[in-house]
Symmetry: C2
Subunit: 114 residues, 2 copies
């Protein structure tokens, strides 16, 4: 069962949910940025400067969290997101490499595919 | 521009559209079956015995075709689908391997994620 924050454990991760989460370009950009950053990088949601409302950012991070792509934890007054890299590489080998092949020239411009 | 049948050319394929198409378990099962079959295998839509109406099958194949995952051509009285394996491996290396990691024990049972 997912924990109180909605994080599935490794065995619960579902490829369909992961692919649905990644069908959105903004969510894909978040995962791609975290995957390109050093292992263990933790960032606030607002640090991604997504061009959408705060409520929409919250929604996108919930989708990422519930699919198992990111883990969110509270640190002091901040809510930090980290990539679940080891879990993803174990369950879905090749996924992060696949996302990295998408060039950043396809900059996210809106909620297409949301 | 996609051709008259809605097939994008290789350069037009979009990762978001591909991931959205594959978020559905029935569509994923079609691609997985074609990927596991010998190169060049061509099958009718009905040969997949999807547990949904004919109209829904047609819809699913349209989504797969417009994302660039399959190519559909008429042969005599039949409409045959083939996997665009070379195009997919060129544009999205690792994608077919990723799909193959999903076990068939997760048999599609309905339109979840449709």
């Amino acid at each position: 069962m997912p924990d109180a924050e909605g994080h599935p454990d490794r065995a619960e991760m579902d490829l369909g949910a992961v692919l649905a989460a990644l069908a959105d370009p903004l969510r894909r950009s978040v995962v791609r940025e975290l995957a390109a950053a050093p292992e263990g990088t933790a960032r606030t949601c607002s640090s991604f400067a997504l061009p959408v409302s705060k409520a929409t950012v919250t929604h996108h991070f919930r989708v990422l969290r519930e699919a198992g792509l990111v883990r969110q934890v509270n640190r002091g007054n901040s809510r930090m997101a980290t990539l679940r890299r080891a879990d993803l590489e174990h369950r879905f080998p090749g996924l992060l490499t696949l996302l990295a092949t998408e060039t950043n020239t396809e900059a996210p411009t809106g909620p297409a595919g949301a």
